[in-house]
Amino acid sequence: MLFNSFQYWIFFLIVVTLFYSVPFRIGKLLLLGASYVFYMWWDPRFIVLILTSTVVDYFLGIFLERAAGYRKKLLLVVSLVVNLGILGFFKYYDFFAGSLAALLHVSESSLVLRIILPVGVSFYTFASLSYTIDVYWGKMKAVRNLIDYAFFIAFFPHLIAGPIIRARQFISQIQFWQRPTTIMVQSGIILVLSGLIKKMVFADRFAAVSDTYFNHPSAHPGWLAAWSGCIAFSMQVFFDFSGYTDIARGCAKLLGFEFPLNFARPLLSRNPRDFWRRWHMTLSAWVRDYLFIPLGGARKGPLVLYRNLMVVMVLVGLWHGASWTFVVWGTYQGILLVGYRLFNQVTAGTAISRLMNKRYFEPLSVALMFTSFVIGMPFVRAKTLQASGYVLSGLFGFQHVTGEFLLTTGTIVLIFISLFLAVAQECTQFIDRLALQPARIQVPAYVCAFLALELFPATGQVPFVYFQF
């Protein structure tokens, strides 16, 4: 049941209608049931995993709160083992087994189990982990109501692809739920429409170009084709994930819940550090709070900082997918972050630093950051390191041919439109403020949104990219 399917909106309409026609204590159960139905739509077997994770962490949370000293640590370890065990087995077993088989030169089939990846496992595992760790650190009290906890884990708008919500932000919303305000409903509708446009009009059109290239890169040699494919995929992955998040946040608002912001115009980032503040913000914040800072963060000198950055980014890469390509992508992102810090250190107080801090240099910084982002895309989209290497060689002109320009007029126009919209949003927050505008502005905006969805969606239903993570 994809967010961009007719099926989902029928489901959502039924759920909303039923939810508001009963008291919240029943409505909560109804939403929980609907969330499980939503999850089981893909594969009913994996409901067992969510239930296991939920029940285990619920009780561990209570025990953690009561325990102290060594016993408390042990309980946390149990939580980590269970959650990371589920994630590790279902997501990474085949990857590590396959790599081991290759290393030992034994048949892959003897070790690999061909496990199906349960959708959303990376997202709900992180949500669940954040809860037990917060209780362990004493940052929040253990939840005493199993339904509330299960609701936090399984609430369907964030279940499959985030944003990664924290228990300490969300549990209170369940406990003190109030009917959404008018402005919340208004914002919810705008977010849903914006998400659908991002997905169906932008992402899926870029997907047609990136699929043409990445399905068979060797059929499209040359740097022009490689840049076309990588730029198209960069745009696709942003609009796809950002669109999904908007719809998720919009649906949550319509049900009276708030999800945190997950994207803030990341393609306008000026440098790698800025990029990770704007891209998948809930994941960045999660790894910062639960990984980077516990590792020492920036407190123990530059070398430890660089090590921490590399470790965190490699793990972020691995979180995105069980493949060496994602490990390399994570490493690349780590190198960018470390390189940027080193660069800043070396050039501090010099003319270069002054130049780069000038306002007129900012558009060039944005262009450079975007280019760096695009260069990393072969590792995200290509299936193997070999294929990534081939695309990379194309990007840097090592194939010694020009190649085909795969971007169509339509996709080029979309790139420019998206850049202008991003700039306008960055300056004026015009999309967010649309909820406050009078009818003479809102009505034409609705008309434009409906027309875009009617006339310009790409043909065929393309699944969301982040489902595979």
Binding site: I183, A208, A367, T408, E426, Q442, A445, L451, L455
Partner: protein, 599 residues
């Protein structure tokens, strides 16, 4: 200048690696210039064609799959240009040729171990033809890119000016982008990003504004797509565009003063019936034939065609309705919806939607009636991408109609093709093109029982709608069989197309031609593929149909039979799905059996 920069590209990247600091701005400008160069540069296309050409000119060795296009650079004259795609899987296995046109969804255009096909619909833009080893597009074997370029009708100076203008446009766009990002600068780097507002200073009217937006949206769609505003600029070579052009021309055609006979149908009637020949033959009888049959125009669209061209229901002396025609797979639903869209009205939503078997088709059909723009998505994108080419092709609308009038049919035949109904073995002579082979094979695929039932239901409902519309009209409705295929006469032959006629209760007397009328045309010499009559078959079919019609209509007219009461054309032809061996009733004239079922 462009080529020099292209050549320098790898070196500029090489300089990035050793000292990124010193070359930051240079690299950035390099990237901008790269993008700028190839966003608008026609040279890029030239380079593409050159490169592709090297690849496809390579000599084929045994076992090496190849695909080639001749030419790869197509000059698009008027609305479209053509190229010939040739392919060979190299090992005798079946290959699948897909085309990705201007970044859209890949579409299968041909299949077979080897062959060639003329692609006559190349327009400006890039077409990537890919040869796959499987229909799921998993194993790519070879690829070739065809570039459609605008006709070089303008003198070189104009071309140069165009190029310079494109450059200027790209430069301006980048300058605007630069300043937009420059102006968006918020000073120090942001660490806080405000989300949506949580309070409003004034009361909000969410439902009212949303409903107003929805209503305004439906109005805008209505004004643009339910009027002639957009349908007049539909691509004339698209299915929807052709339907719009043909119905519009017929609607506005002045009366000939003769007894006018309208012929409906799909590609088999479009290829098989010649209005020009029919008019010559029937001039003595004072008849004028008009053929509005169009490829892919299924039976559930004919009612809407008639409503458009004959609003009063009294314009024609007779309307020829073919039956036992056109099994269409469900996958063709979007095409049929798009084709019917120019003719649909708001009130058709339930009726039109109910003609589709699948819920997805019904939903799409329903939406197309309310929001007609949704049926023109591809057309609109194409228009926005190539507005000048569209303007030129729309101006040539009259030419499209003229070429239709003077069309004489195709000369080729499939003589030498043999088919054994028992074993299903088909032998094809080597001279046939791959398209012909494929069409012959496809025509011999027997539809499933449920597909047949669905098709018969659609046919019954479609014909019934027409009969109902003309129940109180003096217009004669003529039901005619159509030659089923080159091997339909063989005992036990399974045909995709058949002559089974469904039970149709009607309040109107109809004239139906004998089912075996065209049996003599069911031979390979009268066909250019597995379904469509060639020029010779077209002549034979038209002559016979006209002779039968003139005879029957005149006798029926004099007998007054056409104005009798409630009738039925009910199961007079037994199921002929499995060929001619199964036919039972062969009554030749109007069925006079009264049907008590009133509509």
């Amino acid at each position: 200048m462009i080529r020099r920069r292209t050549g320098d590209s790898s070196s500029s990247w090489a300089t990035l690696k050793p000292s990124a600091v010193a070359n930051l701005s240079a690299v950035l400008f390099g990237i901008a210039i790269w993008l700028a160069l190839f966003l608008g540069s026609p040279c890029a296309h030239g380079a593409v064609a050159k490169q592709s050409g090297r690849g496809t000119d390579a000599r084929q060795t045994k076992g090496t799959p190849t695909i080639a296009a001749t030419p790869e650079r197509v000059e698009v004259t008027a609305a479209s240009g053509s190229t010939e795609i040739g392919w060979n899987t190299g090992n005798g296995s079946t290959g699948f040729v897909f085309v990705t046109a201007n970044g859209r969804e890949p579409v299968l255009v041909a299949k077979g171990p080897e062959g060639s096909r003329v692609i006559s619909w190349i327009r400006t833009g890039s077409y990537i033809f890919e040869l796959y080893g499987d229909a799921e597009r998993r194993a790519l074997l070879a690829t070739v890119t065809v570039s459609g370029v605008a006709e070089p009708g303008s003198p070189p100076r104009t071309g140069l000016l165009h190029r310079q203008l494109r450059w200027l446009l790209v430069a301006v766009l980048f300058a605007v982008l630069y300043f937009a990002v420059y102006l968006s600068s918020t000073g120090p780097q942001r660490t806080e990003f405000p989300a949506e507002p949580t309070t409003s200073p004034q009361p909000l009217h969410v439902a009212r504004n949303l409903l107003l937006g929805l209503a305004a949206f439906i109005c805008v769609d209505g004004v643009v797509f339910h009027t002639r505003l957009y349908t007049s600029i539909l691509a004339p070579d698209s299915y929807a565009g052709r339907m719009a052009v043909i119905t519009r021309a017929e609607k506005h055609r002045a009366s000939s003063g003769l007894k006018e006979v309208l012929v409906l149908g799909d590609s088999r009637m479009a290829e098989g019936f010649s209005a020009a020949v029919a008019n010559e033959l029937s001039s003595v009888a004072g008849l004028k034939f008009v053929n509005v049959a169009e490829p892919a125009c299924a039976v559930n669209i004919w009612h809407y065609v008639l409503r458009e061209v004959d609003p009063t229901g009294r314009r024609y002396w007779a309307i020829v309705v073919p039956y036992g025609i056109g099994f269409e797979p469900n996958s063709a639903d979007p095409l049929r919806i798009s084709m019917a869209a120019p003719l649909l009205r708001y009130g058709d939503c339930f009726n039109f939607a109910s003609a589709f078997q699948r819920w997805s088709g019904r939903f799409r059909a329903f939406t197309a009636c309310i929001l007609r723009g949704s049926a023109f998505q591809s057309d609109l994108v194409d228009f926005l991408e190539h507005p000048s080419a569209r303007a030129r092709s729309v101006q040539l609308e009259a030419k499209t109609l003229h070429s239709r009038d003077v069309y004489k049919g195709r000369d080729s035949d499939i003589v030498g093709t043999s088919y054994d109904p028992k074993t299903g073995q088909v032998t094809l002579p080597p001279r046939l093109t791959e398209a012909q082979r494929e069409a012959v094979r496809d025509s011999l695929v027997k539809p499933s029982q449920s597909e047949t039932q669905d098709f018969l239901r659609m046919q019954r409902d479609g014909i019934q709608k027409i009969l109902k519309r003309y129940s109180a009209s003096p217009t004669a409705i003529v039901l005619t069989p159509v030659p089923r295929g080159p091997f339909a006469g063989l005992p036990g032959a399974s045909m995709t197309f058949h002559a089974a006629f469904p039970t149709v209760p009607t309040q109107k007397a109809v004239l139906s031609l004998p089912e075996q009328t065209f049996d003599f045309l069911e031979k390979p010499e009268y066909y250019f593929d597995g379904l469509h009559l060639n020029a010779k078959g077209r002549q034979g079919f038209t002559e016979t149909l006209v002779a039968q019609l003139v005879g029957h209509l005149q006798s029926a007219d004099s007998d007054g039979q056409l104005h009798s009461d409630s009738k039925t054309v009910a199961g007079r032809f037994s199921s002929g799905i499995h060929g001619s061996g199964n036919r039972s009733s062969r009554d030749n004239h109007i069925s006079n059996k009264l049907m008590n079922e009133a509509n």
